[in-house]
């Protein structure tokens, strides 16, 4: 390569202030192989790009170096420009003289010299660039959605309505998620189930949605456009194709004393159950840990203890011997929408970094409940029929204290972040309480009221101004039971007054945390997560629903604390991304991937072990007769993210990252 053009950008004053761009252009013009070198105020502007295009044609350039900002910013721009001018876009490179130079230096002379050096390195590198062609990958136009809460439901419906097939996997017996447990929703107070259940039914009836409830993702292989997913269908003990959901089995089950998950432990359910009346699918599950028959079988009892459900089932749908089954699904994209769990204040925690609240009795004080439990108390379908009655003795609490930021914003307990939804749902709780308990007093301890959202602040003001909620600014130091009441020792920092309250019930707005098991799912999907377990988005602003693994998207509260509108918006965004991906039968990828020289590869497979994306496979080299000569490494171009780990680790130097070959890098280094 010998006809290189150098284009030095001033970026207005950004580079020009500390770097003498004209001097850089002049110095680079004298480099061997450079035939054209100029500077310009804004190289990324239309006239700037025109200069590049014009130069390519006029000087018959076969390499273009733009000394400007970070390639993260404008590499795409200039590569498109040179492609339009008729040369391969991978013959264009950028030298970063802004972030790496002008922004971080003050001395003009030294910065100018550094800019010349940086540009020279790239000039030397580009001499070894070769034209590369984009990789084309076939796409399976079918999506997997993990999690059947509101986010998963929305994503599934939007993708399916867009014309593509969806497999929706939900680990619980029914879809609906936490939203199905809520009484009313802020800030409009519309009934949660009334707006959710039509969506659930729509999922069930949709011709392009395959619903797999009571199932979990077991294994994920493949890459964008071509995933193979193994799903474990957990054994319900009920044959779904025979069951008509009549509910007789639940009526006869003798063990009806099991704490209902749906009622957040406040209600009871039998051992064979559907979580709630509007469950989708409306097919019961046998809770084997609590069913007398299974408990007996686990003890090797000679006779089954109870078969009442089987006896009463007219459809012969009960199948005690049903086993878990594994199904394989081919999909082109995956949405993670696994939602949240609530932090609990107990002494035992699932993570070492997180601790409970000893000062609040570690969750042992009766009538101290969490926000979801209050939702169940307030819900007409709940264990009290919508009456606010405290769990210990069923009395109507006349003073209810609500504590915000429990766990949240409490680094000492291991959770630094704001859970975002609590301010709003506590305001809603005070309203519901005010409507339901005549003369009751709601007292809210808060640190800040975070009500950013359409109609949100108005809503919290309504709770305070019209619904008599007393908002006290401060955290509570201690809570303990004293006879019939809970002593709450707090402080109002606004008045400087201690607030010692005898509460009948306390509601804790506990932090939102990702679902248990999120880390192992994330590892199966090769997506990263933060120290709290929330799935990381690819870019916090510009790629909010993509993950660092191509083809895997994220929606709802598994990414960060989210309210319903946020979760739904994210879900629709993932659907839009996926429908875009599915709009063509093939997908193009940047060719900046690793390539193995199978001639020199010794087959040590160190690259297989170090690859963070599982992109390196074994490949058998055979002779014409089909005899195995040797087994070598081969990079799956669909999966490779071009990180270069294999290249750095290969003992025989048999892996090269396209666009960043050893030859290119050494040329740049040697130019120093």
């Amino acid at each position: 390569m010998s006809r290189i053009g150098v284009f030095v950008c001033h970026c207005g004053e950004n580079i020009g202030r500390t770097v003498d761009c004209a001097a850089v252009a002049q110095a680079c013009g004298e480099l061997p192989g450079v035939v054209h070198s100029i500077d310009y105020k804004y190289m990324c502007s239309d006239p700037g790009q025109a200069l590049v295009k014009q130069a390519v044609a006029e000087h018959k350039l076969d390499g273009v170096v733009v000394a400007a900002c970070s390639p993260h910013m404008h590499e795409k721009t200039f590569r498109k420009t040179v492609a339009n001018a008729g040369i391969n876009r991978f013959l264009c490179e950028m030298a970063n003289v802004r972030e790496h130079c002008s922004w971080i230096h003050e001395d003009r002379e030294e910065a100018t010299q550094k800019a010349i050096d940086l540009t020279r390195f790239i000039v030397e590198k580009i001499k070894h660039n070769v034209p590369l062609e984009p990789i084309k990958i076939p796409v399976t136009r079918r999506a997997l959605v993990i999690g059947g809460g509101i986010a998963g439901i929305q994503a599934a419906l939007d993708i399916a309505d867009g014309g593509c097939e969806v497999v929706l996997v939900e680990k619980e017996p029914s879809i609906g998620g936490h939203m199905s447990q809520l009484s009313e929703t802020f800030p409009t107070l519309d009934c949660s189930q009334c707006i959710l259940t039509p969506r659930m039914v729509e999922v069930y009836q949709h011709p392009r949605i395959k619903l797999m409830a009571y199932a979990e993702v077991d294994k994920v292989e493949g890459y964008i456009g071509n995933f193979t997913v193994t799903v474990r269908q957990k054994a319900r003990g009920v044959n779904a194709s025979l069951c008509n959901g009549c509910g007789e089995c639940q009526k006869v089950c003798p063990n009806k004393k099991i704490a209902s998950e749906f009622d957040a432990g406040l209600g009871k359910r039998p051992a064979i159950y559907v979580p709630f009346p509007q469950a989708v699918p409306n097919i019961p599950v046998i809770d084997r840990a609590n069913c007398a028959l299974y408990k007996g079988r686990a003890r090797n009892a000679k006779k089954d203890a109870c078969k009442k459900c089987e006896e009463v089932c007219g459809r012969k749908a009960i199948d005690f011997d049903q086993q878990d089954t594994f199904l394989t699904e081919k999909v082109g994209a995956i949405v993670v929408a696994t939602g949240y769990q609530l932090y609990n204040i107990k002494k035992e925690q699932d993570k070492e970094a997180i601790s409970g609240y000893g000062e609040y009795g570690y969750g042992t004080i009766p009538d101290v409940i969490d926000g979801l439990q209050f939702e169940r108390l307030a819900s007409a379908s709940g264990p009290t029929g919508g009456k606010i009655l405290r769990p210990s003795d069923g009395k109507e609490p006349k003073t209810v204290v609500f504590l915000q930021c429990i766990g949240s914003r409490d680094p000492a307990k291991g959770i630094d972040y704001c859970s975002k939804i609590c301010c709003m749902y506590i305001a809603k709780h005070t309203m519901l309480y005010h409507h339901k308990v005549h003369g009751g007093q709601a007292i809210v301890f808060f640190m800040d009221i975070r009500a950013g959202g359409k109609g949100y602040d108005e809503f919290t003001r309504r709770a305070i101004e019209e619904n008599d909620a007393l908002y006290v600014r401060g955290r509570v130091s201690k809570m303990y039971r004293d006879g019939d009441v809970i002593k709450v020792l707090g402080f109002d920092t606004l008045s400087g007054e201690p607030m010692h309250i005898d509460a009948d019930m306390v509601v804790l707005a506990t932090a939102m945390r990702p679902q248990p098991g999120i880390e192992s799912l994330a590892q199966k999907l090769s997506v990263s997560y933060d120290r709290f377990g929330f799935i990381n988005e690819a870019h916090p602003k510009l790629r909010p629903v993509e993950t660092n693994t191509a083809g895997v998207y994220v929606a709802g509260a598994c990414q960060a604390p989210r309210d319903i509108p946020d979760a739904v918006a994210m879900a629709s965004a993932t659907a839009s991304k996926i429908l875009g991906l599915f709009s063509a039968s093939e997908l193009e990828r940047e060719p900046l991937v690793a390539q193995v020289d199978q001639g020199t590869c010794a087959g040590c497979f160190h690259c297989v072990r170090v690859c963070p994306y599982g992109a390196v496979e074994h490949f058998e080299v055979k002779d014409r007769k089909g005899n195995l000569i040797k087994t070598v490494a081969q990079v799956n171009k669909g999966v490779c993210q071009g990180c270069g780990t294999c290249q750095a680790n290969c003992p025989s130097k048999s892996v090269e990252l396209q666009g960043f070959t050893d030859q290119q890098i050494f040329a740049a280094i040697n130019a120093f």
């Binding site: 000893g358 000062e359 009795g361 002593k487």
Partner: protein
Amino acid sequence: MKIGYFPGCSLDFSAKEFDTSLQAVATSAGMELEEIKDWACCGATSGHATNHLLSIALPARTLALAEEQELERVVAPCAACYSRLATARHEMAEDKKLFSKVTGILKRDFTNSVQVMNIAELLRDNLPAIKEKVTHPLKDLKVACYYGCLLVRPPKVTGFDDTEDPSSMEEVCRAAGATPVKWNKRLDCCGGGFSLSRTGSVIRLGKEILEDAQAAGAQAVVVACPMCHSNLDLRQKAIAEQTAKPLEMPILFITQLVGLAMGISEQILGLNRHFVSAQPIIAKATVKALPAAREEA
């Protein structure tokens, strides 16, 4: 193994019974205590409230002496002394600059390697040996275990038990045959060093504590700190003048309670030195356990 013993100024005199009872219990349970020779005061509240460096350097001298005696662990029965020793150790371990400043002042070879223990920790860690020596289990005796502040706070310095829900004193009392009651004020402050300088506050705080112990059905309050003892025992008469119900709550050092259960004489345990008579409690311990009952204990 030998355990270094830092009695502290109170045990040297006004709380002598804490010292004698601890020595007697330790001997009985086979713990070998070796007093740190020529120890000095830890500085107490007056030290750390007025000069931070002094509050670290004074305990550091004692810890250095312990190192010179080749002791690996030191027990400081007074909760305040324990807190000062443990805090000094913790801060010097966390802050290398502070550590070198202190070693410069001490002019001694000092590596800050001595572990600091409090009395509840020491007894809890020797429960099997103690249980073996219990001959007079304090059956039917309801006690309120009072931790106060410095045994369990701050967690980063103490850390031997749960800060908000500790159990070690209860375990020790159970081993002595007594029944710990559940009560709410066991971690509240008694007024500490304000006994002389702000007696009103001490009486206010002591009243809340003793009333709560009384309401929980306790027949005695068990403490592990001479300041707590003094504030609840010496000041109890003044406190009782303000309570609605009559108040006559014996305050026992935890070592006295264990000593009673071991059948150690009340003279050695110094039970006659209290302002509120411990006689009802002593009476409980006069019945020697039958061999069968001992098994149960």
